[in-house]
């Protein structure tokens, strides 16, 4: 029997057992064949298509949709995967409403874009569910490359390098590969163990090995990697979490949203996961929305997402904001936390409203809270890193860092917009540059 939803504190099992399965099921159920054909028929096969330009990985979208429409979804998958080896995950997590689908001419003309993301998933699922891997390794080059981080950037880089004939070792601090795909994305976006299945599928290329639970800086230094390998790619992401800077933020019940999501993603039984009755999430990005929605899905009675600026400034797309609202999350804007109240554990969190210039208005807001999730950004951690550009590793257009034979990409590198798809593009492009550099040197 489920607990009373009104029960205060951070407790598990707030909902009836079946409610968890329903809540955490696929956000966008996969298209069946008929739906895919109907959706594919809507594509105009535009010249120099805007969708393709908008895709950070430059997938030839009109071509893959035409391949679906003509009954060759596996060929469509190869078109996608040749540009974006994590095309399956990107089909699930990309904010398509702000990328390809936003500029689809049918969105412009009718307000109804071609369902590019869902078609991409249809094609990649079709291929991957058969266990087929459409790429082959080139002849061995004898080069060995260390890839730090098994997230989207690292996996993308590793696959491309392996395909080009290099031997790759991926070093990752976590027990499982996948990075944020495995630990940092809402469960309903990638259910049924897809993140691991995709890594297993990707590994079929061969030539890639893993060293799990090895952290650079703790277990191995960048210097050692440079000595042991021909090149190093840094794609370790951002593992530090920004602090609120509010009085009392060390009280029990205040946690990092990324840790909450990570724990949730690794839980086999959602009903055993404790959640507060009154949850407050602070932040305005995808992580904030993922945490807020999942808190609601776990049975929190009141979930409030508080962001310091207006909704138009939120990194979470309008679609994500609407998703949160539809799940019952209240969104409060123009408020910054100033104090966490409570005796040991959080009881209330106090905000001050600010104007567009982030200047305090003097108006206060106190929200009842037994759990607070911080989602105001992550930071780069590490020693002996290449030169930084602000708070990230400085890279050029092909991922080169200030250090010889060291490249970087993904969230830890400068540029980009902290999206899975951007990380994939950066990993891929760095791999191509590593290849050119190493083979050029050899020749």
């Amino acid at each position: 029997m489920a607990r009373d939803v009104f029960e205060p504190g951070i407790v598990p099992g707030r909902l009836e057992p079946q409610a968890y399965g329903e809540g955490f099921s696929d956000l966008h159920p996969p298209l069946d064949e008929h739906e895919a054909l109907v959706a594919a028929d809507r594509c105009y096969f535009c010249h120099d298509a805007p969708c393709m330009t908008a895709c950070p990985t430059d997938i030839d979208i009109p071509l893959f949709i035409r391949q679906i429409a003509t009954g060759t979804p596996d060929a469509a998958a190869k078109t996608i995967l040749s540009q974006n080896i994590l095309g399956g995950m990107c089909a699930r997590v990309c904010p398509t409403e702000t990328l390809c689908e936003e500029v689809c001419v049918r969105e412009v003309a009718e307000g109804k874009p071609v369902l590019i993301g869902q078609l991409q998933r249809y094609a990649t699922d079709h291929l991957q569910q058969q266990g087929k891997h459409p790429f082959e390794r080139a002849a061995a080059t004898g080069k060995r490359i260390a890839v730090v981080g098994a997230g989207p950037a690292g996996l993308s880089c590793a696959h491309r390098l392996a395909m080009l004939g290099h031997d790759v070792e991926i070093i990752d601090a976590r027990p499982k590969p996948g990075g944020l795909n495995e630990y940092g994305i809402a469960a309903y976006k990638t259910p049924n163990g897809f993140a691991q299945a995709e890594v297993d599928w990707l590994m079929q290329i061969g030539g890639i090995s893993f060293r799990h639970e090895v952290a650079v800086g703790r277990d191995v230094t960048l210097e050692e990697l440079k000595t042991d390998y021909d090149a190093v790619f840094l794609g370790m992401g951002l593992v530090g979490v920004n602090a609120l800077g509010a009085e009392g933020e060390d009280k029990a019940g205040v946690a990092n949203a990324v840790d909450f999501i990570s724990e949730l993603r690794q839980t086999g039984d959602m009903s055993k996961l404790p959640i507060g009755r009154d949850v407050v999430v602070i932040g305005g990005g995808m992580t904030a929305v993922d945490a807020a929605v999942q808190a609601k899905l776990l049975g929190a009675l009141n979930v409030t997402l508080v962001y310091r600026r207006g909704r138009d400034r939120m990194n979470a797309s309008v679609f994500e904001q609407d998703l949160a609202a539809s799940k019952g999350v209240r969104i409060v804007t123009h408020a910054v936390p100033i104090a966490v109240h409570g005796n040991g554990s959080v009881r209330e969190i106090e905000f001050e409203y600010v104007d567009e210039g982030m200047k305090g208005t003097g108006e206060r807001l106190r929200l009842q809270a037994d759990q607070v999730f911080k989602a105001i950004g992550q930071t780069l951690m590490g020693e002996g890193l290449p030169e930084l550009d602000g708070r990230k590793i400085k890279v050029d257009g092909t991922g080169r860092t200030s250090l010889d034979r060291v490249w970087a990409g993904g969230d830890c590198a400068s540029g980009g917009d902290d999206l899975t798809v951007t990380a994939v593009a950066e990993g891929r492009d760095a791999a191509m540059d590593i290849h050119t550099t190493l083979m050029g040197a050899a020749g």
Binding site: L37, V38, D41, R42, H47, A49, A109
Partner: protein, 439 residues
Amino acid sequence: MADLRSDFIGIKSPNPFWLASAPPTDKEYNVRRAYEAGWGGVVWKTLGMEGPPVVNVNGPRYGAIYGADRRLLGLNNIELITDRPLEVNLREMKAVKRDYPDRALIASIMVPCEEEAWKAILPHVEETGADGIELNFGCPHGMAERGMGSAVGQVPEYIEMVTRWCKMYTRMPVIVKLTPNITNVLYPAEAAKRGGADAVSLINTINSITSVDLDLFSPEPMIDGKGTHGGYCGPAVKPIALNMVAEIARNPETHGLPISGIGGVTTWRDAAEFLALGAGNVQVCTAAMTYGFKVVQEMISGLSEYMDEKGMTSVDEIVGRAVPNVTDWNQLNLNYVAKAKIDQDLCISCGRCFAACEDTSHQAIAMSEDRTFTVIDEECVACNLCVNVCPVEDCISMEPLAAGATDLRTGKTVTPDYANWTTHPNNPSAKAVAVEPAE
């Protein structure tokens, strides 16, 4: 609501929309429902001679091609004439005609090319009260192998002979249904007229293979691993039918011969186009087979609205209106100059016009950094391909240049004078030299 009543060779019907002789008109049940749905007339599925009826295949009879979203564009069939006994069909026709005296009922007939066979069947048909007969000289499959259908329709002398027999042995009006599977439709049409036909109807279906099964390597529709050519119909054949109708309508030998237009009529607009090119009424099959009998309601309301807008009070006012404008290529005005124009407000920037023009035509469309597409008048020959590939209706139009304007492609001034190929200096057999030759 406009008066849609139709009088086609003395056969009256409340509207000019008849169902063609085909599977939808094979039996009483269907025909009654068709009349209830609003169809003005029905050409009953082709009757054969007395005795054991033909048999059909027991596998697929139809094959299809599709447009986007699986919209049926073309249908082919290998079905034969009615496979029900003659007496059953005659009995049902009589009952239906008795109950729907205001609707047209035509009997389609196909019997061997022997005078006795035609002489024998006609009194039976007459006895049903049918308003007329249609001679099926068009069926391109199965029956043709037995010397009937298009095997007759491809030999003008046979057409003339059989038509004459029919006129001799029945008082009913005779419509001769023509096959498009010939080189020049005028020969069979003229033969029908010489034989005394009251009208021709066209087109019957076109020999076709719709597709090939790439696993079995069999044509579709496939019967036990094999396929045969079938009769093609539906929206895809409309342009072929329109041309054949127009050719008969403007040919001096056949001009004025009533025509029942058939071939891909799917909407009221298609019907109006057939009428404008000289058809006195239209027959429909594939649209009904695709969407059911109810489609006639849109045809009725659409044609009526069009006539009201045009101030027309009779269907006959549309008939033949476009015929004087059907001409030979050598009569086209070579001094007429148009240029494509893109409406930037309607343009959705898909770039298909650019791809088509740049890759396959005249490199006459420019594309800017921000995906604005504009016509380069210096290059545009007004071929219309951009209009045809544009997914947005009326976004690209062909704008004629006014007399006195300069065609930036040729540098010549547009003249108001008419000049065609027959007088063009590049024509070795030109009869006269034009004063201001077009390019």
